[in-house]
């Protein structure tokens, strides 16, 4: 019986009850999957983006399908891909390839939901560390966990400060001079914040840490702190920089008045719309990725903005990087074909001089207007990138300040705990000490349990079949 089969450890008596019924029912089971046959291996690829970004990936998939005649990849946009992917893999019906969030990769790997890619690399005669040298260093380590590779970046971005030049001009700030330090960010933010003289309601803000709310987990990194200590234990409450990062969050809420901010925020439209706060001029400075330009063109063509590194807190440069990760779920029926598609997404045509000559990763990165995680960019991609400031982002990603979220089997949970904690802190529901203390306590337990569980599973797998490849990463 394959590992993970749910009934294998259930006492026989219980199993019998189920088995009789199951036999009767399985007669009824019919697959409603349509038969698509053009003689090729059909791969299902789950994509988390929608709209123009999904169209960009679709174009890449089309190019792959056209580049060979044995494999056809079918792209499916899937919202909440992390939840769906785990449930589908557990149900024995995963897609063959999936685009996943960086934060999920290590957690999924530890749950045994992903295939390690190292064996494929070795089968191609390349040692993984050599294989990964094609990526800019910060991207090469993103899919690494426990000494193995579980995912590869398909599009890259550094997160940068974006500021609205028109709003700067309006309040007499130099529109070409972004804040460079935390103190400047605070000062600019004060000057850019406006209230309705009659009601006192906020009508515009300079900077709002929770807009967008995607990077609040990075508060410790920004302030020079750590999530784990040297011995690999959870360290957040005891880390002064991390605490300072969240203290700052609380100060922001206090300074502008929590109730006023809450009311102001509820008027924000969705990110991909003209009503989103940065596009509608409600918030003057935001931390956003390289993708913003693509959305700005669509939803705020009149917007005039600049990009700069995050204002420094520690005096050292800081560049948060993110990537979309491609993974192969365990349970795919076509691992080899899936790997071939993944390889396509990890390559480019280094000599491309026209749009039509772009290949692989550069198609999606070009169309999504992001940076390519590869070290080497083709001439066309470098010179004709639709983002006018792409060179700035490329430089930021290669800078010594470039960092990314830690790869840990509990990171998904850890970042969720941090998201909840930062919410409680900014809502003044709890002091940073208390909220982070609770994160610390919960995550210490979760982390030790996670390791115990991995150990248990490893022993169970060993006992089951010692010749089997262990399914879990220690």
């Amino acid at each position: 019986m394959p590992p993970g089969d749910f009934s294998s450890r259930i006492p026989l008596a219980i199993r019998r009850v189920g088995l009789v019924a199951a036999l009767v029912l399985s007669g009824l089971a019919v697959s409603c999957r349509p038969a698509e046959s053009d003689g090729r291996i059909q791969l299902s690829y789950w994509e988390k983006w929608t709209g123009a970004e999904a169209a960009a990936m679709q174009a890449t998939v089309d190019a792959f399908n056209a580049s060979q005649d044995r494999i056809r990849v079918n792209l499916v946009t899937t919202s909440q891909v992390d939840r769906k992917l785990l449930v589908a893999t557990a149900g024995g019906d995963p897609p063959d390839v999936a685009g996943l969030w960086l934060a999920s990769v290590a957690s999924f790997a530890d749950r045994g939901a992903l295939l390690p890619l190292d064996d494929f690399m070795r089968a191609d005669g390349v040692e993984p560390y050599v294989w990964l040298e094609r990526y800019t260093p910060v991207y090469a380590t993103m899919g690494q966990h426990g000494g193995r590779t579980f995912g590869l970046p398909t599009t890259g971005t550094a997160v940068a400060l974006h500021w609205n030049k028109a709003l700067f001009r309006e309040v007499g700030l130099d529109p070409e001079r972004p804040p460079r330090t935390l103190a400047e960010l605070e000062e600019f933010s004060r000057r850019l914040t406006k209230r309705d003289p009659a009601t006192g309601a906020i009508t515009q803000m300079g900077f709002l840490p929770q807009e967008p709310p995607w990077f609040l987990w990075a508060q410790p990194l920004w302030f020079g702190g750590h999530y784990f200590d040297e011995s690999g234990e959870i360290a957040i409450a005891s880390d002064p920089q991390s605490v300072a990062g969240y203290e700052w969050l609380r100060e922001q809420s206090r300074e502008y008045g929590l109730a006023d901010v809450q009311r102001f925020m509820s008027g924000f439209g969705p990110f991909a719309s003209s009503q989103s706060p940065f596009f509608s001029g409600k918030v003057a400075m935001v931390f956003q990725g390289v993708w913003l330009n693509n959305f700005a063109r669509q939803y705020a063509p009149a917007l005039e903005y600049g990009v700069a590194p995050w204002p420094t807190v520690t005096g050292d440069p800081f560049a948060l990087t993110e990537a979309d990760m491609v993974v192969i779920p365990r349970g795919t029926k076509h691992p080899e074909a899936s790997w071939e598609f993944v390889q396509y997404l990890a390559s480019n045509n280094p000599l491309a001089r026209t749009r039509a000559e772009l290949q692989g990763i550069e198609i999606v990165c070009y169309l999504q207007e992001k940076t390519s995680p590869l070290r080497d960019w083709s001439p066309f991609f470098t010179e004709h990138h639709p983002h006018p400031l792409i060179a700035f982002f490329r430089e930021l990603e290669s800078s010594p300040g470039a960092v990314h979220a830690p790869a840990s089997g509990v990171w998904q949970e850890y970042s969720r705990e941090l998201a909840t904690a930062s919410e409680r802190i900014r809502l003044l529901e709890a002091t940073p000490e208390r909220a982070l203390g609770q994160v610390q306590a919960r995550m210490t337990t979760a982390w030790s349990l996670h390791r115990t569980s991995l150990e248990r599973q490893r022993r169970a797998a060993d006992a089951e079949n010692s010749s089997n490849e262990p399914t879990i990463q220690p």
Binding site: P3, G4, D5, F6, R9, I10, P11, I14, V17, G18, V20, A21, A22, V24, L25, S79, Q80, D82, R83, L86, V87, T89, A90, R111, G112, A113, A201, P212, P213, W214, A259, Q262, R263, F264, M265, S266, G267, F271, R330, Q412, E413, R416, A419, T420, E423, R424, L427, E429, Q438, A441, R442, L449, S453, R456, Q457, A460, A461, E464, T471, I472
Partner: protein
């Protein structure tokens, strides 16, 4: 005779055979398996490993488990009594021999059959702090003493009341049950009460309420079981409130209800063993409280025949 008895058993089993299979496959087996899993470290992708009572011991010390339990208790404590009062109140109004009864009944009843997913979308919009209909209506009221209405789903203190408000919109179903109960109360009882010169309030307290107490009890229990298992509304509203960063129960865990926490533990973290232990604790809590309600009802509820 013997063969006749056997035939009767065969016929009985024959007619109930779908249910025998269904009960075994979709209820009994899962209940037993769930009990077994609750003593295991189990992730569905990997094999269950027996760990004894560890899951239950951990539950006792799990802060979020207690938060979820408290959230659920607070929600049920607000939603169930208010639901009973609201639906009984509406039924009493409709029972006043009013003209146009079908129109009003339809108006009150319709919201209760609106698919929860769709009504969640609607209330998401109504609760919007800035452009929502609710705050637009409340703003002048709050402005009287210089305040502003709450941000509802964005405010940990108001997110649960918001869900209660939404649940009150759906009381139409129990209202119809009350109405049927009220119409079954014999007219003579009212008439004799009126002859005795009993006032409206006392009539309600001494005639109506005892007569419909079984219906109140039924609605109370159904409302309680439903409120304890609140899922869809809270799932959708909290997922929408946080831009989809995967954190359920926002803001600040204020809408992290038991079933949401259970779902997230089982299907987001794949801790199926731990989730099964949570499920069993939940089962025991609901069964215990229902039993207690039953014990109270034995003494208080008036069954006419």
């Amino acid at each position: 005779m013997k063969s006749a008895a056997r035939r009767r058993v065969l016929a009985g089993l024959g007619f109930t055979s779908p249910w025998i299979i269904g009960l075994a496959t979709f209820t009994l087996y899962p209940v037993l398996a769930s009990l077994y899993f609750s003593f295991c470290d189990y992730s569905i992708l990997q094999q269950p490993v027996w760990i004894g009572l560890e899951n239950y011991q951990r539950l006792a010390g799990d802060e979020v488990f207690w938060i979820a339990l408290r959230n659920t208790a607070v929600y049920a404590a607000l939603a169930v009594p208010l639901g009973v009062i609201a639906s009984l109140g509406l039924a009493l109004l409709l029972n006043c021999n009013v003209r146009g009864l079908p129109i009003f009944r339809t108006l009150f009843y319709l919201p209760s059959i609106v698919p929860v997913v769709a009504s969640s979308m609607l209330w998401l919009w109504i609760f919007n702090g800035e452009y929502g209909l609710l705050n637009a209506s409340l703003a002048p009221l709050f402005a009287l003493w210089g305040g502003a209405p709450p941000a509802w789903l964005g405010d940990p203190a108001w997110a649960k009341p918001a869900l209660v408000l939404m649940s009150l919109w759906g009381v139409g179903n129990s209202m119809v049950i009350y109405l049927a109960g009220l119409q079954d109360v014999p007219r003579e009882l009212y008439e004799s009460a009126e002859l005795d010169g009993v006032g409206v309030w006392r009539r309600f307290w001494h005639v109506t309420l005892p007569m419909i107490s079984p219906v109140v009890y039924f609605n109370f229990i159904m409302g309680f079981i439903g409120a304890m298992q609140i899922f869809t509304q809270a799932f959708i509203l909290s997922a929408a409130a946080n831009n989809g960063d995967g954190t359920l129960g926002s803001p600040a865990r204020s809408t992290l209800f038991y079933t949401i926490h259970l779902y997230s533990t089982a299907f987001q973290d794949l801790r199926m063993g731990y989730a099964s232990a949570m499920a069993w604790v939940f089962f025991l809590i609901i069964a215990g409280l229902t039993w207690a309600a039953n014990a109270v009802a034995e003494r208080r509820v008036h069954y006419s025949s």
